[in-house]
């Protein structure tokens, strides 16, 4: 078993492991699962030098506070997120869309998301997780996925399966864009709406 792990000091409101997810189980009553904000999920993995489908920690509003034990580890956080990295007595304000190095005993406190609901923490490597239907995405309603289908909880340990030691620091000039317009095409039930309803919608 790997000696590298995170200890969860505070789990946050809704912190789960997510990846690209599974999208072929509607017939057994299991809805689509996977990262909610696909763009920020992919960017997190890209910054960490991972394959697109590697699992990350997804958090909403308040994120987790983690303490790291192990070898040097590169991490990246995406979204619009306020977080701090504590190295001994020093506390560093974190920046999204760039990589940071965590060392033994460092703490990562993901305080909150701001204008985005979801944020993503990717490590340069892999968490040690169980896969179901080729995905470790957690579906808490059906108790499916890694972590026995449950949210990440206080005091639990998250073990790492592998660390990419050949990482390079990366930074991306990226701003979460505000959606000004939603493009719509008429669906099969468009005629169900009244003329007034259609007018109000557009």
């Amino acid at each position: 078993m790997s000696k590298n792990y995170f200890e969860i000091i505070r789990a946050g409101i809704n912190s789960t492991f997510q990846d690209i997810g599974r999208n072929n189980l509607y017939h057994i009553g299991v809805p689509f699962s996977g990262a909610m904000d696909n763009r920020n999920y992919l960017l997190a993995n890209k910054l960490a030098g991972n394959n697109d489908n590697y699992p990350v920690i997804e958090f909403a509003y308040q994120g987790p506070h983690l303490k790291y034990y192990g070898d040097k580890l590169n991490i990246a956080i995406t979204g619009d997120v306020t977080f701090k990295i504590k190295k001994g007595d020093n506390s560093i304000d974190g920046q999204c869309y760039q990589t940071f190095i965590l060392e033994n005993n460092d703490e990562l406190d993901i305080i909150s998301t701001n204008r985005s609901v979801y944020g993503y923490l990717a490590i340069s490597g892999k968490f040690d997780l169980k896969y179901q239907w080729s995905s470790c995405s957690i579906n808490t309603k059906a108790k499916i996925g890694s972590n026995k289908g449950e949210k990440i909880s206080d005091n639990q340990r998250i073990r790492l399966k592998e660390i990419n030691i050949y990482f390079e620091n990366k930074k991306l000039n990226y701003i979460n864009t505000k959606i000004e317009n939603i493009r719509v095409i008429k669906g099969t039930n468009f005629n169900y709406f009244s003329e007034e309803g259609k007018k109000n919608l557009f």
């Binding site: 072929n24 509607y26 579906n139």
Partner: protein, 224 residues
Amino acid sequence: MLINISNLGDAALYCDFGKEVNRKINSQVIRYFKTILKKNIVGVNNLAPSYNKLIISFDLKKINFNKLKKIIDNIEIIEDDGLQYKKFEIPVCCEKDFSLDINRLEEKLQMKEEKIYENFFEKEFFCYMTGFIAGMPFLGDLDENLRAKRLDTPRVKVPKGSIGITEQFANIYTFESPGGWNIIGNTPLNIFNSSKENEPNLINPGDSVLFKRITKEEYQNYHE
């Protein structure tokens, strides 16, 4: 009889088998669903069968609406004797702790508790579809005299294993969940098992179900 195929958004196809909810129409939906599942059509990534509709989602990079519609229009449907359906006996305990709405049903249906159970346990049910929560089977049809509306105010939490009835259907809550069906008992049997990736659902569309009444002692000592 498949009446119409139309598009649903840009990456799904909507097969309409009619408006009524009955076994005859639903059996057609199931035959199409099982045939398409077996054919493993390239580009199809999700199938959602319901009482009288089948939604087929697809990957636009691999197939489009017109191509898939043509395949479905010309598909050779496997008839029932070529499909595998199962029959299950589901143990149900109806002690007071589990039959949360039996008194309410006595009033709604103007029928004594024992008569309600007698009618319920005599019936062989047919699984129309699974959904709402993972593996939850929708089982029909209840006798006319057992049909009741949902609760006026749904429960925030219905216990796992609860057996609910409403209108023409019975169901089994595979997980603790919000719900508004009239709860008449609870089964100790695990209906959804995610560790069995090939067959997580115990009961699938087209299968038959008989409920068997058990005592609280049998419930507590039940081992699968």
